[in-house]
Symmetry: C2
Subunit: 338 residues, 2 copies
């Protein structure tokens, strides 16, 4: 599997960025400042940033899925922008809830602008996403807006489950997989569906591409869970072991606990302990997760989900280029550098 | 002006509550628990509450505005539910941002369920409001959804201005009025517009009722600002002087500061001081606001805005009963018991 950055990212980057700037322009100045910082367009002083980061995975999927049903990528722009705005809404709020201090190699918005401002900026992006998608209210736009609402609700459910798991000691693997599907895969499925809907694909095409996005999203989040423990900070843009620090019941952790045995018990009691974990505790927890097969199990399941995603593409006829792009994106986002 | 609870509240209460329960039913269990508590349906243990509070000012306006354009109140239900959900979204998030510990005579949701849960519950209500309003996507529903998106964005802008004012010492009255218009009046205007839109009113009727709602919203918030300082806790359901405690630059405060003179300066330095204000500081601040005419000036402006609101109703023909109900609601919500 190639880990080269897929062409589709570069090809659709300018299109998406123009759409995003146009949307963000509508926000009031106080909120725009926070959003522009969060998106990496401005630094804290309000100066433009030379080369903003962000790969726009979800928009790239929307664009390519429009092409996959035989339309121009451009028709997917309203969906691509809306799904990216919803993603950014969730990042702004998640960082507040998780008390994350770094994102994309920079301090998170709430640490600089305050919690209230970050919450409001997220609220504004969620409202903006829906507002832009239904204007003008064409048949396709409305179908897209309904899909986006559903995916947003699913994502919020997933985040709520994620929070609840932190307090529970009895989370089982099936719940964990359901949670990451809700939290992440629903929106990736939606990104694909939006492209197919706005590209006027058939119901069969919309369902197959949505299925592809959902399975891919599951694989993507499983890999992300592995990165959340063993990813190098210079690659992830976050603190090392940040998920363990927060005692998150991510898939590798739950898989390790389910493996049973004395070291699984030791892991659980580490994660259930009160007070802040020491660096030694965290290193030990990571080792226990690994020794109990949490890492391997998660990567195996991710492989399986990825294979399942690609099988969805066999259900429909897609132009060769679009198929190649979808496979490249799928390979890229599930084979990230550890 | 009568301070009796208007008939319209009682008449539309059951209709609205059924619509709200139907909507909230769609939320996932973890989020529904927080929302049901916030709405006063359940106590912290999850037991039903005998007689939930909440007057549903905004839904009542939607229902009566449908009647004002000659339709049945029932047609406004999707708008009434959506606008109430957006209102509740904003309350949940505002309480987190303002660190308010009491609302409707009970501990606020975030103090019981945690900040993350309260943020998510708010997010879920915002997403739900839009989702329900565009389903099914009739012409009127879409027009209503566009109006609601715009009002939501305006409200978020107002809240952002409100937060920014806390840190500023140079807020002038015009900014303060603009802020409270954004924060509150936009959504009241929207409540009225939604009723008129879903009742298939003419553009002229929609605009006049929207104008009524906006001016009424301004009056309502000004009265609320006075209650935020001088309201009795047993009436407001909040701590005494809660706005002063948070150093909020509400209208009475800004009007008092603008009055100039040495005691205005004393007030400003009290509000700009670091650390928590003592009970004596707060009592002194309230006295200084009153002595500098902040309270009188605000209530005068509220009277003026209310009169302006009622003049909007002269622009259109409305059934006698609907007109009487609109006037009763307007009188009631701007003449609350201090």
């Amino acid at each position: 599997m190639s880990v080269q950055v897929p062409d589709a990212f570069a090809r659709t980057h300018d299109l998406l960025e123009a759409g995003m700037r146009d949307a963000v322009q509508r926000l009031s100045p106080g909120i725009r400042r926070v959003v522009a910082y969060h998106l990496g367009w401005l630094d804290l002083e309000g100066n433009p940033v030379e080369s903003p980061s962000g790969k726009f995975v979800r928009p790239a999927l929307s664009f390519v899925c429009a092409e996959a049903v035989g339309a121009y990528a451009e028709v997917a722009l309203p969906g691509a922008v809306a799904v990216e705005l919803v993603h950014d809404f969730s990042l702004l709020h998640d960082d507040v809830m998780d008390r994350d201090t770094e994102r994309r190699h920079r301090p998170t918005a709430w640490t600089l602008f305050g919690e209230g401002e970050a919450i409001l900026a997220g609220d504004a992006l969620l409202a903006l996403a829906q507002e832009r998608l239904i204007d003008p209210p064409t048949h396709e736009r409305l179908k897209a807006a309904a899909a986006l609402s559903e995916a947003t609700a699913e994502m919020i459910t997933g985040q709520s489950e994620d929070l609840a798991f932190e307090r529970r000691g009895d989370v089982v693997l099936a719940e964990c997989v359901a949670m990451l599907e809700h939290k992440t895969a629903g929106l990736l499925a939606c990104a694909c569906r939006l492209g197919a809907i706005l590209g006027r694909g058939s119901d069969e095409q919309i369902e197959a591409l949505g299925g592809f996005g959902r399975a891919l999203g599951i694989a993507f989040q499983m890999v992300d869970d592995v990165l959340g423990i063993w990813g190098r900070p210079e690659v992830t843009g976050k603190q090392a072991c940040s998920d363990l620090r927060q005692r998150k019941k991510t898939m590798p952790v739950v898989a390790a606990i389910e493996a049973d045995g004395p070291s699984a018990e030791q892991l659980l009691s580490l994660l259930q302990s009160d007070g802040e974990m020491t660096e030694e505790d965290i290193a030990l927890a990571a080792k226990l997760v690994e020794d109990n097969g949490g890492r391997d199990r998660t990567l195996e399941e991710a492989e399986r989900a990825l294979a399942g995603a690609l099988r969805f593409l066999d259900q429909i006829d897609t132009p060769v280029d679009a198929r190649r792009d979808l496979e490249a994106i799928a390979g890229f986002i599930t084979a990230r550098d550890f």
